[in-house]
């Protein structure tokens, strides 16, 4: 119990809201880095996943990317990213962490986009084609809206994984909320450690909840009614 009080005291100390190690600065660093990684990952994964789903080609690749992604531990990704970033002369901190986060973000988005488009009822697509819709038109106006629940679920998984793993960036001298955990561990300052862990945990859960809420809002009400009826 006293530890929670210590952590509370740590949060109320005005010194922790000033300078480069301020809570709001670290939080912003964490969110910026994670957001950028998910954005880059989505720009790579979604076009590939949607296109493969539309054509139905390379199913084996699209489905197994997610499994490979799971077998790559986040710390190993960081280990691979560091020599690469260093070889490119980008140094420590931000870049190696970003390099390790993007490959982590891609697999769930790619596989979910593929499965989402693939699962669209073939009759619906035939009907669309019969009504004269072009292939890009089918993808944009039929397949994408119907695949949206799975696409968004993939983005949620990616975002939660990325936010969690961005914590490890502190190991390669990066910023973000992981700083408090790594420094707290190194300095044996348990209040800092505990407070940092609380911040990271709350941020991850907040991202999960925010995406779930957005998913419910963004999905077409027609789809929702049908899912409920099943």
């Amino acid at each position: 119990m006293s530890l929670l009080l210590d952590a509370l005291r740590w949060f109320t100390d005005p010194a922790h809201y000033q300078g480069s190690d301020a809570i709001q600065t670290r939080l912003l660093e964490h969110v910026e880095l994670s957001g950028l990684a998910v954005l880059i990952g989505a720009m790579v994964a979604l076009p590939i996943g949607l296109a493969l789903g539309h054509t139905g080609r390379f199913a084996f690749v699209a489905l197994n990317v997610a499994n490979i992604g799971r077998a790559l531990p986040s710390l190993a990704l960081l280990a691979f990213a560091l020599p690469i970033a260093f070889g490119l002369g980008l140094g420590l901190g931000f870049w190696p962490t970003l390099f390790s986060l993007v490959p982590l973000a891609i697999p769930p988005m790619l596989t979910n986009a593929y499965v989402g488009v693939r699962n669209v009822d073939r009759d619906v697509i035939e009907a669309a084609r019969g009504m004269g819709l072009s292939e890009p038109g089918i993808l944009r106006r039929i397949e994408l809206p119907l695949a949206l629940p799975l696409v968004l679920a993939g983005m949620r998984t990616a975002a939660v994984n990325v936010v969690a793993t961005a914590t490890l960036g502190a190991l390669v001298a990066g910023g973000g909320l992981g700083r408090y955990i790594v420094d707290g561990l190194g300095l044996q300052e348990y209040d800092r450690l505990f407070a940092g862990a609380l911040l990271v945990a709350v941020l991850a859960i907040a991202v999960e909840v925010a995406f779930s809420t957005f998913e419910r809002r963004a999905v077409s009400p027609g789809l929702e009614a049908r899912a409920g009826a099943l």
């Binding site: 077998a71 710390l75 190993a76 992981g178 505990f194 862990a197």
Partner: protein, 217 residues
């Protein structure tokens, strides 16, 4: 990563095979305890869910929330209470296996066709016999698929426990990061990925051996 130093120094790798073997032992031990204990807990909770479906929501919520908490943060939250010990690591690692394992065990049992269950009841099987002789064997393929996912993700997460001083292949990565030595860094990463792939392959073979009927279908 110092200038003039090659990315991988093979002589270092050749002279450290003893350490790799020791790290493999630590990595396996941490993984087996987590997946074993996780399976026992998940099995009990899954049977509870099958019997009392009302519990599915709350149990999924709790295990889902645990799953969402980043590993380093969960370890950090436990350290003040349980210290830099195996217990800290195992509480975290075990909690992460629960969501996947419970989901697959429940899905496997629910996937058994109702006619099969009724036939067993009609042949005079008690509920316990229906579970152990009909439902679980038929659910085995889905259950092992869950164990594969749990094993792969646990092997990955064990690397993080090196940060709290528990060894494993993560120790090589962590030391490599601190000493700025790419050979050790890459060795740790490659070995942990190789272990995950090997474990997954072995579990596929186990599943094929235990459920020969899935091959014919």
């Amino acid at each position: 990563m110092t200038a003039g130093e090659p990315l991988i120094r093979w002589d270092w790798i050749a002279s450290h095979t003893d350490e790799f073997a020791r790290r493999l032992g630590q990595h396996l031990e941490l993984t087996l305890i987590a997946v074993g204990v996780g399976f026992a807990v998940a099995f009990a909770l899954a049977l509870l869910i099958v019997r009392i479906p009302r519990l599915e929501g709350p149990i999924t919520w709790v295990t889902g929330t645990l799953y969402t908490i980043p590993s380093l943060a969960l370890f950090a939250l436990l350290i003040p209470y349980t210290g830099l010990t195996v217990l800290t690591a195992e509480i975290g690692l075990t909690s992460y296996t629960l969501l996947i394992l419970i989901r697959n065990i429940v899905r496997g049992i629910r996937g058994v066709p109702a006619e099969v269950r009724e036939a067993a009841v009609g042949m005079g099987y008690t509920p316990r016999q229906v579970l152990w002789r009909v439902e679980l064997p038929l659910a085995l393929a889905v259950i092992i698929a869950g164990v594969r996912l749990a094993a792969i993700s646990t092997i990955g997460l064990v690397t993080v426990t090196a940060l709290i001083g528990l060894g494993g292949f993560g120790q090589l990565i962590y030391e490599g990061l601190q000493r700025f030595f790419s050979t050790e860094l890459i060795a740790g990463a490659v070995l942990s990925v190789a272990l995950a792939i090997t474990a997954d392959g072995l579990l596929v073979l186990l599943q094929r051996a235990l459920t020969p009927w899935t091959r014919i279908a």
